[in-house]
């Protein structure tokens, strides 16, 4: 991984710090989730209002290599992104992306900055295919992913509950890393664009 922490600038000039997630971030990460509006938490993979759940997500796993980045503004976490890659088996060339950013920074290019970091890491780890999981109702996330070249490839029926307990379908959107790179580079150069960020939610991990 590159040298961290890094200072990165958002579209409005705000400087945020980008670095890997650390064990000591538990309380700040939990607070970040608590600060999300409910509609942004609705399709996350678990109830991150519970500290214990956030702690579980931060644990290591025999099955997955988990690379996580956060961005901080002052002492607050304002963005979180992860690359999950199997450590063994036939899908080691695939990596799942997750990204959640604070509502007030959702038009500032923060998700793209986090994704850029994940793409670099994915390339380093030999990932060839990237995927993300979204609910059909997550139109903003879907737009961002489509902008990066992701396409809906499979629909897992009644696969996840929302925060309210209703079952919904989960889309698996995939893209080759080379295509996603090209699109992201273009987007970052034209960082004057607008639109919403990519926040497909965090799968319960294990």
């Amino acid at each position: 991984m590159g040298p961290y922490p890094k200072t990165v600038h958002l579209k409005n000039g705000t400087a945020v710090i980008l670095r890997p997630l650390e064990k000591g971030d538990l309380a700040a990460l939990h607070q970040f989730y608590l600060n999300l509006p409910e509609e942004d938490r609705l399709y996350l993979r678990s109830d991150v209002r519970a500290l214990e759940i956030v702690k579980m997500q931060m644990e290591d796993s025999d099955a997955e290599e988990r690379t996580r980045f956060v961005t901080t503004l002052g002492d607050r976490i304002v963005g979180q992104a992860a690359l999950l890659r199997p450590q063994y088996g036939w899908a080691q060339h695939t990596g799942e992306l997750r990204c959640v950013v604070a509502r007030e920074l959702q038009d500032q290019g923060l998700a793209k900055i986090l994704l850029h970091e994940l793409f670099q890491e994915a390339t380093r780890q030999g990932v060839e295919i990237l995927f993300g999981k979204v609910a059909a109702a997550q139109t903003a996330a879907i737009r961002i992913m489509e902008g990066l070249g992701f396409k809906r490839e499979a629909v897992r029926r009644s696969h996840q509950r929302t925060l309210h307990g209703d079952l919904h379908d989960v889309w698996i959107m995939t893209c080759s890393i080379s295509d996603a790179w090209d699109r992201l580079e273009d987007m970052m150069q034209a960082m004057d664009g607008h639109g919403q960020e990519f926040y497909p939610g965090g799968r319960a991990e294990g």
Binding site: Q87, E128, R161, T162, A204
Partner: protein, 177 residues
């Protein structure tokens, strides 16, 4: 509560004992997995030929509910079938099933028998949906899953890389309990 051990009689008359795997089975399971063609092991989540990994796998997993049945022929483990569900999160109604049978017991009816046994456990675990993943072109696995009632749910192109580095499509099949 399902009582074990159970006896399965293969269609060629061989008798297989089916029971839950325990920590005492680590060595026999290692031998089983090492004896399998490498490609067959690749749909597992961890490297089951490593003793440490296997030992951890046989211990209770935090945040997972797992039932693991094995088929034993003489003193050999010749099959493993598992169902695993996360105990937290919004996907905890979904479980994944995995099944591996030694080549000399394929076609014996054991896979179907183990699959049905594991379904009973999945229902007791309050699982609403069971998934199984396989290579789309693995006709034997697909037929075996269809016999158990699984239906195709989606295909992910090139999600499987075999030991030669060739890519294959991953078929996700599912079943409602």
């Amino acid at each position: 509560m399902i009582r074990y051990p159970k006896v399965f009689r293969a269609n060629d008359g061989r008798v297989v004992v089916v029971r839950p795997a325990t920590a005492d089975d680590v060595n026999a399971l290692l031998e089983f997995f090492i004896s399998l063609p490498e490609q067959d092991r690749l749909h597992l989540r961890t490297d089951v030929t490593q003793r440490d990994v296997m030992r951890r796998r046989m211990m209770p997993q935090p945040h997972w509910e797992v039932v693991r049945l094995i088929g034993v022929f003489g003193d050999r483990v010749i099959a493993e079938c598992s169902v695993a569900r996360r105990t937290y999160g919004f996907e905890s109604h979904v479980a994944e099933m995995r099944l591996l049978v030694a080549p000399d017991f394929r076609g014996s009816g054991l896979a179907t028998y183990l699959g049905r046994q594991i379904f009973a456990h999945a229902i007791m675990m309050d699982v609403e949906k069971i998934e199984a993943c396989m290579m789309e072109e693995d006709r034997r696995a697909v037929r075996s899953a269809e016999r158990l009632g699984f239906e195709p749910e989606g295909v992910l192109k090139n999600f499987v890389k075999d030991i030669m580095g060739n890519k294959h499509n991953l078929l996700i099949m599912s079943l409602r309990t």
